[in-house]
């Protein structure tokens, strides 16, 4: 099967099948372009390190038989509880790796990977108070007391009790 090389930002080369690599719309567009007609072809995605690139290849290899993702529908309700189990295990990584995967999926335009990673982050935010969110993502509270009072309309404890 024809292969294509992916060169990470730190110079490492990874060889992958073309069909697997075409899950990335970016690579697919490059391959279909007129300047990638040579035998030896490689892509150098920036911001994709040698640690992230093999994981992206692994996810693409696992999902090579998946149907193409549907187009985004605004009316369709977005859910975060439909992440496959394999993806849940695959994304049990540290925040740095998770966000590196998001950036890699964003650049390579791999929608499936981008969706599951974003859903994973959303699940990390759900059910948390503002202070808990700050602690989880190392965010500094830059609100003044007056601003914070205005922003907080309903005490979240009351909201939780209501539910």
């Amino acid at each position: 099967m024809p292969t294509i090389k992916l060169q990470s930002s730190d110079g490492e080369m990874f060889e992958v099948d073309v069909e697997i690599a075409k899950q990335s719309v970016t690579i697919k567009t490059m391959l279909e372009g007129k300047w990638y007609t040579g035998v030896d072809r490689w892509v150098t995605p920036p911001n994709v390190s040698s640690l992230i690139c093999p994981q992206v290849i692994q996810w693409c290899t696992h999902h090579k038989d998946d149907p193409p993702p549907p187009e985004d529908d605004e009316n369709k309700e977005k859910r975060t509880d439909d992440i496959p189990v394999w993806d849940q295990e695959f994304l049990k990584v540290d925040q740095g790796t998770l966000f590196e995967l998001i950036l890699a999926a964003n650049y390579l335009d791999i929608k499936g990977l981008l969706d599951v990673t974003c859903k994973t982050v959303a699940n990390m935010i759900k059910g948390k108070t503002p202070e808990e969110i700050r602690k989880t993502f190392n965010i500094k509270n830059d609100f003044t007391e007056e601003e914070e009072a205005q922003v907080k309309q309903v005490p979240f404890t009351l909201w939780h009790k209501k539910k």
Partner: protein, 665 residues
């Protein structure tokens, strides 16, 4: 073998297998040649021989004393000895006088043969005063006749005066030459004893006279090496002899070095008026400084290896400077009151390479200060330089704006005061004063500098209150000397040099004017790597919006209360929660919330609070209250919390479901 072939030799044997205890102590001026006792085995001819010890050549020097027959005129007589097993032995004065024959062992002529040769007595049978044994040396061409003649002409009392010779380059292997330098080897102990005796005599004479140089009294150590080029050393015994000679030379050289060191040490104590200038050296390495005398304090200055300028320095440039003072007195614990002026700019200045520009002023009495003082002018050349070098100094100033200097202070020092003066800038003197580690003065020594402050000078806690009124460096010096603080400095208004207080490593801390830029940059990068990163804020906006679009109203409301960035993102891009009931249909977009009558705003993720029941307002004389929560104030927030809903018209599914329910009834 005919019995009369060999002369009758009388052998002196104190005791078979004799020891030192039997020998009298020799005087210092008397040196005896080493003789060895060997076995002279009898041949098969049946001649009676004396079988003595076989001693290795290395023990010749020690054995020589042992086996040297005592002087007949000496009062110290050897104790009586047991009878020799030889039937021909005669007891004479406690010694065994043996009549024996010796036989040269057949075989290799170079084989060492040691034998005792007694001086032939005079015709009256009285042994000669200088009777002694002369050992034959295989390295030399010694025949029996030569040895006899040598013994006859040998005079032990005068031998000590004639042995002061250097290592002979040529062997004196002539028959008429005195065979002492050829064949006699001084024992190591004898040489050391001789040297020590002479040293003691020299010191005594020197102290008495007070001016005599010890070197005039001391002589070179005695080294007597015998060489015989006529006989080529080809056997092992010759090699051993050469080794022994070399060893003697090494010993003599070691003794000479010891004497020279001793002489230097004594000179520092006996000649305190040595000029201070003689003590200033300039070396290429820190390790090249010679040892200093008692009471001397040495200071070594070296440009720090962290400074990039050190790498660009020429090869032949001295990389460190040594200063010393405090030679006088010779009393331990006496603090030096001398001041040393040093131009540290010589270390890094590319233009001022003239070693003569090095300031090495004579020691001055410092009426104000105590301890060693130094003036490192780290930024400008010394003002005492020639005017012709002013241009060079100006060029150097442009190139060098500061450098790191490492200072090593050795010696008994209580306090060091460093002056930093920049005469060209016409600023006051900078003073860095610190005390040597002392149990009484050192405070807060166990406190480690805070992280990141290791290479920064610590400002003392008492600096402001103690030095606030001090403006000049001299005054600060007075203050430091009068009050004796641990470390007080004066800081220029715009000087990067900060003060130093209790520092675990005073020399390094004192002279660091500023840290390198590379260090700061690397430390910043490391801090950035170690601190927790804000990954969420580093994501692109569209990804952040994509993530927020998966969140319900409650989570969006919490995100909005987290930070300004999230609030701005939600409001700017109009992020809608997944459970939002705001109808985005263009026909109903502007419809208010049917619960709270609030209009939809872009990015509104607020919760709706409303009163499900109306407000009861009686007649003016009646009561008014909310019927749902019984609160009287009309402006009370709604008791029901929920999502905003501007769908005034029920969805079709709900209408159909209600219709079916009614039909079912």
């Amino acid at each position: 073998m005919n019995r009369d072939t060999f002369s009758h030799i009388r052998l002196w044997c104190p005791r078979p297998f004799g020891t030192y205890s039997q020998n009298k102590p020799y005087s210092n001026g008397t040196i005896c040649n080493g003789t060895a006792a060997t076995h002279c085995k009898a041949d098969d001819s049946g001649l009676t021989t004396l079988e003595t010890h076989g001693v290795s050549e290395e023990q010749d020097e020690n054995v020589g004393m042992e086996n040297t027959p005592p002087d007949a005129s000496s009062t110290l007589l050897a104790p009586p000895l047991p009878a020799s097993p030889s039937p021909n032995s005669q007891m004479e004065d406690g010694r065994v006088l043996l009549d024996t024959w010796y036989v040269i062992k057949p075989g290799n002529t170079k084989e060492k043969i040691a034998f005792f040769v007694a001086h032939q007595c005079n015709g009256a049978g009285i042994p000669r005063p200088s009777a002694m044994k002369v050992k034959g040396n295989w390295a030399t061409d010694c025949t029996k006749a030569k040895r006899r003649r040598r013994c006859s002409s040998y005079d032990p009392p005068t031998r000590a005066q004639n042995v002061v010779v250097d290592v002979p380059s040529e062997s004196n292997s002539t028959e008429d030459g005195v065979g002492v330098s050829e064949t006699d080897l001084l024992s190591v102990a004898e040489m050391v004893a001789l040297v020590e005796q002479r040293t003691a005599l020299a010191l005594q004479g020197m102290v008495a006279q007070g001016q005599t140089s010890p070197y005039t009294v001391l002589q070179k150590p005695v080294v007597i090496v015998s060489e015989s080029p006529s006989s080529a050393p080809s056997s092992q015994s010759d090699f051993d002899l050469l080794q022994q000679q070399q060893e003697s030379q090494r010993v003599a050289q070691a003794v000479a070095q010891f004497e020279s060191r001793q002489q230097n040490l004594d000179s520092t104590t006996l000649w305190p008026e040595l000029n201070e200038r003689d003590r200033i050296h300039t070396g290429d390495s820190v390790g090249g400084a010679p040892s200093h005398g008692r009471g001397e304090v040495r200071i070594a200055f070296r440009v720090s290896s962290l400074d990039p300028r050190t790498q660009s320095e020429p090869v032949g440039r001295p990389k460190c400077m040594f200063m010393s003072c405090g030679v006088g007195g010779g009393q331990a614990g006496t603090r030096s009151k001398e001041k040393i002026t040093c131009d540290l700019y010589q270390l890094v200045s590319p233009s001022s390479r003239d070693p003569g520009a090095l300031l090495a002023s004579s020691p001055k009495a410092d009426p104000l200060g105590e301890g060693i003082t130094d003036r490192p002018s780290s930024t400008t050349p010394d003002p005492n330089q020639d005017p012709a070098s002013g241009e060079k100094a100006a060029v150097a100033r442009e190139l060098v704006t500061g450098f790191h200097v490492e200072v090593v202070v050795t010696g008994a020092v209580d306090q060091c005061v460093f002056y930093g003066k920049d005469s060209t800038e016409n600023v006051q003197e900078e003073t860095v004063c610190f005390a040597m580690p002392n149990g009484a003065n050192l405070t807060d020594a166990s406190e480690d500098p805070p992280p990141g402050q290791l290479f920064f000078l610590q400002s003392p806690a008492t600096e402001d209150e103690s030095c606030s009124a001090v403006n000049s460096g001299i005054r600060s010096l007075d203050y430091a000397n009068n009050n004796g603080p641990v470390g007080t400095t004066v800081e220029r208004p715009d000087s990067p040099l900060t003060t130093v207080d209790d520092c675990s490593d005073p020399p390094l801390c004192c002279l660091y004017r500023h840290v390198s830029h590379d260090f700061l940059e690397i430390r910043f990068q490391i801090q950035r790597l170690l601190e927790p990163r804000q990954y969420m804020l580093s994501l692109p906006d569209h990804i952040m919006v994509n993530i927020f679009s998966y969140l319900p109203t409650h989570s969006l409301a919490a995100l909005k209360c987290t930070c300004h960035d999230f609030k701005t993102l939600i409001e700017t891009y109009g992020v809608r929660a997944t459970d939002s009931r705001w109808n985005q249909d263009p026909l109903y977009r502007d419809d208010p919330c049917k619960q709270c009558k609030r209009q939809y705003e872009r990015g509104d993720v607020s919760l709706c609070r409303w009163h499900p029941k109306p407000y009861h307002h009686d007649l003016p004389y009646g009561r008014s209250y909310w019927m749902c929560c019984r609160r009287t104030d009309k402006d009370t927030p709604g008791c029901r919390v929920g999502l905003h809903d501007n769908n005034w018209v029920q969805p079709c599914e709900l209408v159909q479901a209600r219709a079916k329910r009614d039909d079912g009834r």
